[in-house]
Every structure is written in C-alpha cells, then in structure tokens.
C-alpha cells in the first residue's frame, strides 16, 4: 500500500508510481540509515555476505573440498585461520563457499514462494467468492504443516539435494505469501484509484498488474527480507539433518553436522559455520526492520 499513490496530491493516480518518488528514495534511505545505524549495519553485512558468495573463488583460494590427511582437525593457525575439519579441509574456505549455498537456498526459495504465492494471492483477493474460499482453505491446510516437518516430508518424496531442499523450503513458505498478498489486495482493490481505473475501462489483468500490484510490492518486499533468514536457517537445519546439501559440498549445516562429532577434540569446527548463519540471519532481520521503516513510515 504505497501511501504516495493514494495521496490527495495525485487524485487520479493512474500512474501508480508517484513522480519524484525515486529521487526521494535515496534521501530517505540516508535519513532512515542515519536514524537506525543497526539496520544500516545489517544491510552492509548482508551485502558483504552476498559479495562473499559471489566472490568465493577469489576470496577462498584454498579448495574447500580438497582433503589433506596431514592436516586433520588442526587448531586455527595462520595457514588455516578457522582450523581444519575431520578430513583436513580448510575451515575458512568452507565457510566462505558455504555462503554461496546458504544465499542460494535462502534467496531462491523465497523467490519461488513469491513467484507462486503472489499471483495466487492476487487472484484470490481480486476475484473473491468461491475461488478465494477454495484457495484460502487450501492455504490453511498447507499452513497447518509445521514448516520444517513439511520440508522434511517433501525432501523424503523428492530425495535429498540442494535443489530439492530449496524447493521444499520455497513451497513451505508459499502460503504466507498467498495470505499476505490476498489481504493486501482486499484492501487495495477498494481504493478509489482502482475504481477510477476500472471506470476508465482497464481490464482485470491491467488493474492487477498496473494498479494493485505496485502498491503492495513494498509490503511483500519487507516480508521477503524477514523470510530469507528463516529460509537460510531452514536450509542449514535440513543439511544438518542430512536432508539437504550432500557432502562433500561445503554447507554450513553439513559442517555443523560433522563438527558435532568432534566437540571435545576440535571445537573450532563448530564455531564458524554457526556464527556465519547467526550473523547472516541477524543482518537480514536488522535490514528488514530498517526496510519496513523506509517503505512504510506510517508504522512509526
């Protein structure tokens, strides 16, 4: 629900994006960022993790899957700042490459949830009636499966792999977007500018795509930022349980699984992958709070 489009300054508001919004956005980002340094720091750390995921081959030059039998479970040294694991692999390198898997699983699963959830929610909220009821009852049933249990069930059917874990997490997160979108559409499609556009002869598809959707994008974006850390943790959990990324691929979850067996002799194996998940999830949550502030200032 973009406040700009509904504001009395643009009574017809046939252009959902109010003019001048873009130039104001950067200024507002700066203002919000200065007022909420934690959110800014979160966003910066998320970007750093993103850079780490993209630049893994250049940052971690040691091969993350190369085993070295002379370096098994060595405590941190200059050569291996995060130590080595039970197969003599470099801990730092594995943590860096792990960012790739975590980001991939976190971002793509939520993109999948949005790609399915938003159109379905849009249709349900826009047409209402029996179709809406049918979709919502199915969504209720889908939501009744605890996220993790559903993901485990789906992985059982599909088989364990990164792609299937991403798929399972995405499908698990989908009903949230159906609900959110539907709720937003229900209120947005009653706005005057939607009625106005309809009176001017706009068809359903045009109404949904040009008038309703742009006004709910920000709320969906905020939800996505807080959903990604949940998805990242879910991927780590699935991999930790052995249902996600399969060894020897460096996933933070599988690394923690291995670390659990050597807590007494090699505790450093458990420190870094977990800290990485924690930092990334925390940063996403902080950035999400800031984004909410930025996109919907009326809440504060």
């Amino acid at each position: 629900m973009g406040p700009d489009a509904a504001s009395p300054i643009y009574p017809l508001a046939l252009t959902a994006e109010a003019p001048g919004k873009r130039s104001g956005f950067l200024v507002r980002t700066w203002r919000v960022g200065r007022r909420r340094p934690a959110a800014l720091a979160g966003a910066v750390v998320v970007l750093l993790f993103g850079a780490m995921a993209l630049g893994a081959p250049w940052i971690a030059t040691t091969d993350p899957v190369r085993t070295d039998w002379s370096q098994i479970r060595k405590a941190p040294t200059w050569a291996h700042p995060f130590g080595t694991d039970d197969l003599g692999r470099d801990g730092l390198s594995r943590v860096v490459w792990g960012a790739r898997i975590s980001m991939q699983a976190g971002v793509f699963s939520i993109l999948l949830a949005i790609a399915i959830g938003v159109p379905v929610g849009l249709v349900a909220g826009f047409y209402r009636g029996a179709l809406d009821q049918a979709i919502m009852r199915l969504t209720d049933a889908w939501l009744a499966f605890p996220f993790l249990i559903l993901a485990i069930g789906l992985v059982t059917i599909l088989g364990p792999s990164l792609t299937n874990a991403t798929l399972a997490i995405g499908l698990g997160a989908t009903p949230t977007y159906i609900r959110l979108t539907r709720g937003l559409v229900l209120s947005t499609s009653e706005e005057d500018y939607v009625h106005g556009a309809r009176a001017l002869g706009a068809g359903d598809v045009r109404l949904m795509a040009r008038h309703v959707l742009p006004n709910i994008v920000s709320a969906i974006l905020v939800q996505a930022t807080v959903a990604v850390p949940t998805a990242i943790i879910a991927e780590a959990v699935l991999s930790f349980l052995g249902l996600g990324v399969q060894p020897p691929a460096p996933s933070w979850g599988t690394m923690l699984n291995a670390a659990q067996q050597f807590l007494e002799s090699a505790p450093w194996m458990a420190y870094w992958p977990g800290l990485a998940i924690f930092m990334l999830a925390l940063s996403f949550n902080l950035a999400g709070d800031g984004l909410r502030d930025l996109l919907d200032p009326r809440d504060y």
């Binding site: 209720d140 499966f145 993790l148 249990i149 780590a236 807590l263 505790p267 977990g274 949550n285």
Partner: protein
Amino acid sequence: MTEFLVRRAFISAVTLVLISLIVFTGVRMIPGDPARVMAGTDADAAGLEEVREKYGLHDPIPVQYVRWIGLALRGDLGESIRTRQSVAWTVAIKLPITVELACLALLIALALAIPAGVIAAVRRNTAWDVLASAASLCGVSIPNFWLGIMLILLVSVRLGWLPASGFVPLFEDPVANVKRMLMPALVLGTALAAVLMRQTRNAMIEVLSADYIRTARSKGLAGFAVVVRHALRNALIPVVTILGLQMGALMGGAVVTESIFVLPGFGRLIVEAVFTRDYPVVQGVVLITASSYVLINLLVDISYTVLNPRIRIGGGVDGA
C-alpha cells in the same frame, strides 16, 4: 458467538480433510509401486498382496482414499516398515517425551518472554527496551541447533555441569530426567521466547495507552497493580493466539533439538523414519502433527472467544 464457533469448527473440519488429502497425495507421489512403498523393500509377494488387500490398491484412487482415511480415523495408520510395530503405537510411546520437552520449553519461554516484554513496554525507549529487543532479535536469528551445540560445548564439555545427551524416563528418575531435559528445553524455548517477548511488548504498549488504564491509574491504583491486573491480563489475549500459531514451529524445533541431544522422541522418530524410508511412519507423523496443529489452534480460538467478552458479545472475529 455460536455462529462464530460453528463457522470456525467447520473451517477446521475442511482444513483437516484437505490435510489428509495432501498427505495421501504426497505418499502416492513417491516413485514406485505404492504397495512396495507401504510394505518396504524386504516384503515378499504375499506381504505385498496383503498390503494391496488392506488398502484396496486395486480400487480407484477415491475409494482408496476413503478406505485409508477410515482406517486412520480408527487409529490404524499402518505399520512401521522397520520395526513392524503399528505406527500409532510407535508414536504413542515417543510422544510423551516430546510433550515433556515442549512443555518445559514453553515454561522457559514464558518465564523469559512475559517479564521481559512487560518491562520493555513499561520502560519503553529506555536501555531496558533496547536490550530486550536486541535479545529478541538475536533469539529469532540464532539457529537453534547451533545454540544447542554451543551449550553442549560450554555446559557439558567445558564445565561438566549437565550431561550432553541421553534420556532417562521421567518416572524412573525425575532429577536425572530434568537434568537431561533442561538444555534441550532451553534451546527449543529460545526462539519461542523471542517471538513471545515481541508480541507481549507490542500488546502491552497498545493496552497501556487504552482509556481504562488511564482510569485505573487516576483511581490511584499503584503502577504495579495497573500493569499486572489490568494491562497484562488484556495484553495476553493476542499473545495466546500467537502461542497457538507457534506450536508448529515448536514441533519443527523438536525435530532438531531431539537430534542434537539424542532424545528418543517424536522429532527423532521422523528423522530416523526418513533415513530408513519408513514411509508409513513419516506419513503418520506428518498427519498427526498437522492435525494436532489445527485442533490446538481451534481450541485456542474457542477459548479466547469464551474468555474475551468483546468477541463474545460482538459476534466474533473474522475467522477466514
């Protein structure tokens, strides 16, 4: 109110039917012969035929569904491929462990979240508020299995205060049982505490600005009495709703927690079942979890409809 309750119960019934359909379809989506899926790879021709007969696998799919749901309603969820025990029995002996774990986690979560949320709301925008919010944010962001591993490292390996794993039945040795349950419950309760604290804080802030709180204060009631007797009681209503909705996360969390602390509960059962391709057990566990989630939330809704006069008189909240 009756209309609302009937409507709410009807929606739950529809949801339960859809859940059973999803689970039924899910198992059919496993590649291969459904009889082989239900009987396991070791089953001989006679065993396969027995399964086909029991579930009527020669019949059309809708008939199969009706037969399956009929058996499930009578408590027959098939038998475990691995142990040959009935799924219902397997779940029944594992469930108390998870329920105990969940109750302890809930207690810990409430003990942390309610006071912290109330203090954060009453002392809004002070250091206490910031501290509580930061703790809540960390609680949501920390992966609980890592928290578990770190706790084992600190409390069991370094300090040697509590055993890291193993399980002792509650009625055999209550002290040893609680000693082993404490860390898992703390791990499971952390995320819940974080969510509940946020809810309590937000609900308290809203309630504290209400007119009846001003009235109570102007009557000369002491601050503490107003906060606890008037504000908290009303603020807890949305918190209870969130608690019901968080049950799913609690059940999911139990899977991980029980795996780390090697507790032979419901959560570990599903992981083991997945690894051994024990489909009847996976199917049973998923069906029971989802159904109990729906029933718990129905109970939560009914109970607060009965408790909250505003909803009781006003004719109900939108259940959709």
